[in-house]
């Protein structure tokens, strides 16, 4: 999809209306012990898409919280102007009334309410004439032309639909400045394409758009200007246009990445090592059935050799995560999520058939699983780095009734925190306070501590910044070089091609192709994934 998207037609000219709609100047925000923003100056013109770039922790979220009134006027230094007039927001309501709307990364809609209730949420009178509300919201939705029905329960919509509701809500309030915070992270490909066309439309309507993302494809597809934040400062600004034409991605991307990371990254994918040969894992005829008869996986077979990096590709819902979860025993009935799934098929480790029922079986067989959802299943966010790091190691290494050897634990934790360069104040700090990239390093470290032979990585770089991404890529190759067999499931095709010796492509729960990583292209994967 990301391939097609950049080739999509768009209004060919930059919108040059120079009317500055929003201006932030000298914005400074301090937290105890740190300066999250330091004198940031930012302008957005009507009819412009501004991409806000930066690593995790660069200050993007803080800036947007100031803009949307989460941090009220007075809690930060500097000034916000809309159309040249200074404004001060006491709360989020104030920002909304001034025409600023946030489209959040985690969609903040209420699943039990209908679309019309969402639109009218903050303006319902004390006594409500529902028929009139439905009628007027439906008129509005029809004008919008997104195909939304006023009385649909929002929880019944797919994720992309819910996001449309958020956009509709912003427009219903006649917001003129829209902030999109990683809007595509949960969308399907069609939904992404639809979102792009909506953003193009908002742009031609003369609204100002601030777009936050980690995905470079989107940056080059959408933006007119890019602003890079690093360590709370604005470090660079790039225009996407030169002499009425877009500057090529090849020219711009290296400069942007260098600016974000603060150093040049010659090649974000380190060289692949040689496969060492011996087969570690073979899967034959893996099925995942959700009773009564829905096949989530159908007859999946593949193998992984020592030192090999195998990719799992496929569209959303094709079964990438499900393969890893089935093999690791996550879906077994006695787990917190479990029940209802049935897994069949044969698993061979070093040629010997094994029955891995629950995660502890898999861990006992020297397997490790960096799951997709770091907050949901990767980490205990409220607990310390130390406790998180050693959990699988402790669960694996002895009886529950045995003592924790705190000396050995401290050594191990210190070793791995240093090895993976986890940035933290202390290992007793709650892991939830770390940035996404550092959290992901903790997840990786906690599994490396168990000395796995087979490592599953599900979306290992989702939502983390370029610097941490590169470190994770380097680790993947380093571990492969040590003879570990690695499976990477990812929705980012360049990542799979850059990392893997071989890519297994899935379509609707079965293997539709196995491609050699060296020769394959994104088009090959797309073709195999979508027919």
């Amino acid at each position: 999809m990301e391939v097609n998207a950049s080739e999509n037609v768009r209004s060919a000219q930059p919108v040059l209306s120079q009317a500055v709609l929003l201006q932030l100047s000298g914005v400074t925000k301090e937290f105890p012990g740190t300066r999250a923003l330091d004198g940031v100056f930012l302008q957005v013109a009507a009819g412009e898409v501004l991409s806000l770039l930066g690593e995790n922790g660069a200050g993007k979220s803080t800036l947007m919280k100031i803009l949307s009134g989460v941090w009220p006027a007075g809690s930060f230094g500097g000034e916000i102007q809309i159309e040249g007039r200074p404004v001060a927001f006491a709360d989020t309501r104030g920002a909304m009334d001034a025409g600023i709307a946030m489209i959040h990364q985690e969609l903040s809609v209420f699943p039990e309410l209908t679309i019309s209730e969402h639109l009218e949420l903050d303006r319902l009178p004390r006594i409500i004439d529902w028929a009139a509300v439905h009628a007027r919201t439906q008129v509005f939705l029809d004008q919008l032309g997104l195909g939304l029905r006023a009385q649909t329960r929002v929880g019944d919509l797919p994720v992309g639909g819910r996001q449309l509701v958020e956009i509709a809500r912003a427009l219903y309030r006649n917001a003129r400045i829209l902030v999109f915070d990683e809007p595509t992270s949960a969308l399907t490909d069609q939904e992404v394409i639809r979102l792009y066309s909506i953003i193009d439309r908002l742009r031609t309507e003369g609204r100002a758009i601030i777009y936050i993302t980690h995905r470079m494809d989107e940056v080059f597809r959408l933006s007119d200007r890019m602003v890079v934040l690093r360590d709370g400062r604005k470090v660079d600004e790039f225009s996407a246009w030169r002499d009425g034409a877009r500057i090529s991605r090849q020219e711009l991307e290296p400069r942007i990445i260098t600016s974000m990371v603060g150093r040049a990254i010659e090649d974000i994918y380190p060289p692949k090592c040689a496969i060492q040969g011996e087969e570690l894992l073979r899967v034959e005829g893996l099925n995942l059935i959700k009773p009564p008869s829905r096949h989530k996986l159908k007859d999946v077979s593949f193998s992984v050799r020592a030192g090999e990096v195998v990719g799992l590709a496929g569209l959303l819902g094709a079964g990438r995560s499900e393969i890893l979860e089935s093999l690791f025993g996550v879906l077994e009935g006695s787990g917190p999520r479990g029940s209802g799934y049935k897994v069949t098929g044969k698993v061979f480790l070093r040629g010997k058939e094994r029955n891995l029922r629950v995660p502890s079986d898999a861990i006992g067989a020297r397997m490790a699983f960096v799951s997709e959802d770091r907050k949901g299943s990767g980490l205990v966010l409220g607990q310390s780095i130390r406790s998180n790091l050693t959990l699988p190691w402790l669960a694996q290494g002895g009886s529950a009734w045995s003592w924790v050897d705190s000396r050995q634990e401290t050594q191990q934790v210190a070793h791995w925190v240093k090895e993976l360069r986890v940035k933290c104040a202390s290992v007793d700090q709650p892991v939830g306070q770390l940035s996404g990239g550092n959290q992901q390093k903790v997840v990786l470290a906690k599994w490396l501590l168990t000395q796995p032979e087979i490592l599953f990585l599900d979306e290992p770089t989702r939502g983390i910044d370029v610097g941490a991404k590169v470190e994770i890529y380097q680790w993947i190759q380093k571990l492969a070089a040590q003879g570990i067999g690695i499976i990477v499931a990812s929705s980012e095709m360049p990542e799979l091609l850059g990392l893997c010796h071989r890519v297994v492509v899935l379509r609707e729960g079965h293997v539709s192709a196995q491609l050699a990583g060296a020769a394959a292209t994104q088009e090959d994967i797309m073709r195999a994934a979508s027919l």
Binding site: G33, S61, L394, A400, W401, A414, K418
Partner: protein, 396 residues
């Protein structure tokens, strides 16, 4: 959330060696429950013209706290994994009634074959087994069928209360045998008490100081331990010695603390409460541990039933009313999160003393029982409110 992540990530890039060994300054917030308890006791002492802190009353206080304390220790683990158990009070009553029936109706109080001691032990064992069985029922339904613990244990609360009334025919069962009653009424002789409490206090204090990293906090802890030991020694030797229920409570509290802080099991329990999915993925046997925790609390409730009826010299089917709420209040006052994942056994023990001190002090002052309830409720809410406010304040 994301803002705090931002802060931290930005705040610490300069720290290249993340595992700093420099001792942090003493965090007084860790002691707020100790200090709070001390203040409440001082106020009560003042209001009761120092009757409250007499050796006799402190001994009685400790014995009154023991039952709720034992339940609170078990309840801590249930709440730490994100559960709740409302059945402990009724289960204690049922277990007490079972012990009473064995003592009186079966005649174990004057058992010729095994002697009084054998009879008493069998009665206590039966009480514990009864509680354990109720815990098995709770634990099985909660882990196997994933029904909310609130509902299951609410059902168990009503069921066991009903069973207690059925088997006792609604009447008190008394009198029980003297040997059995010793469990609730007797004291460890004073010399033995002095030796035991003194050694335990010294042992704890030195283990707190002899840690590898000798921080101010460790010295503080040791100081508190010694102060508490001193008060206990003074109170117990000034009256009749260490009450047996308090001995049991102290042992269970110690074991509970060790499990939670030093054993792998403790880590697993905290992980289950913090994020059960992550714990499961890391290979923690969630189901087994959850089941075991409910069974343990059931058995502890059975033990409390035996102690209670021994203290009263009679088993009442209506005993143990609202024990579950006192235990939960103690745990929450002690700083354990009702959402699970955060908390300590030590906190719950302090919480139990806090509630016990309120009950005891107000009775001494002659406050009517009706008013006592209102005041107790208000103070519990205030204590927890204060605690949550404190923990929300940013740490610098």
């Amino acid at each position: 959330m994301s803002s705090s992540a931002t802060t931290t990530a930005m705040g610490s890039p300069s720290i290249s060696s993340p595992v700093s060994s420099s001792a942090p300054a003493i965090d007084w917030r860790a002691y707020r429950s100790v200090i709070g308890l001390g203040l409440v006791m001082l106020i009560l002492a003042y209001l009761t013209d120092w009757d409250f802190v007499s050796a006799r009353n402190l001994t009685n206080l400790s014995r009154q706290v023991a039952i709720n304390g034992i339940l609170a220790v078990g309840m801590t683990f249930v709440i730490l994994i994100g559960g709740i158990d409302l059945s402990v009070g009724s289960v204690a009553a049922l277990s007490g009634v079972v012990a009473g029936l064995l003592q009186v109706n079966v005649g174990l109080a004057q058992w010729q074959g095994g002697g009084e001691v054998g009879g008493a032990l069998i009665s206590m064992g039966a009480a514990i087994l009864t509680g354990l069985f109720c815990g098995v029922f709770n634990g099985f339904l909660i882990t196997r069928y994933r029904i909310a613990p609130f509902i299951i244990t609410l059902g168990m609360m009503v069921i066991s209360r009903g069973l207690a009334l059925i088997v006792s025919d609604g009447a008190a069962i008394a009198p029980l045998g003297d040997t059995f009653n010793a469990l609730g009424q007797n004291y460890l002789p004073i010399p033995l008490t002095l030796a035991l409490v003194g050694l335990a206090g010294l042992g704890f204090a030195s283990s707190q100081v002899l840690r590898k990293e000798r921080t101010g906090e460790n010295w503080m802890n040791a100081g508190f331990t010694l102060a508490v030991t001193g008060i206990a020694l003074w109170a117990f030797q000034g009256y009749r010695g260490l009450p047996l229920p308090v001995l049991i409570f102290a042992l269970l509290g110690w074991v509970g603390s060790l499990v939670l802080q030093r054993m792998r099991l403790g880590r697993f329990i905290l992980a289950i409460g913090g994020n059960s999915e992550a714990a499961w993925l890391a290979g923690v046997p969630i189901r087994k541990i959850t089941f075991g925790i409910y069974v343990t609390l059931g058995a502890l409730a059975g033990l409390c039933g035996a102690i209670l009826s021994a203290r009263l010299n009679g088993a009442l089917p209506t005993a143990g009313d609202l024990f579950e709420l006192d235990a939960i209040a103690a745990v929450v006052i002690g700083g354990t999160s009702l959402l699970g994942g955060i908390g300590t056994v030590r906190g719950s023990i302090l919480g139990a003393f806090f509630i016990g001190a309120l009950n005891n002090g107000m009775s001494l002052m002659g406050v009517s029982e009706f008013y006592q309830k209102v005041i107790k409720g208000v103070i519990i809410i205030l204590a927890v409110w204060f605690d949550t406010r404190q923990s929300r304040a940013p740490r610098t």
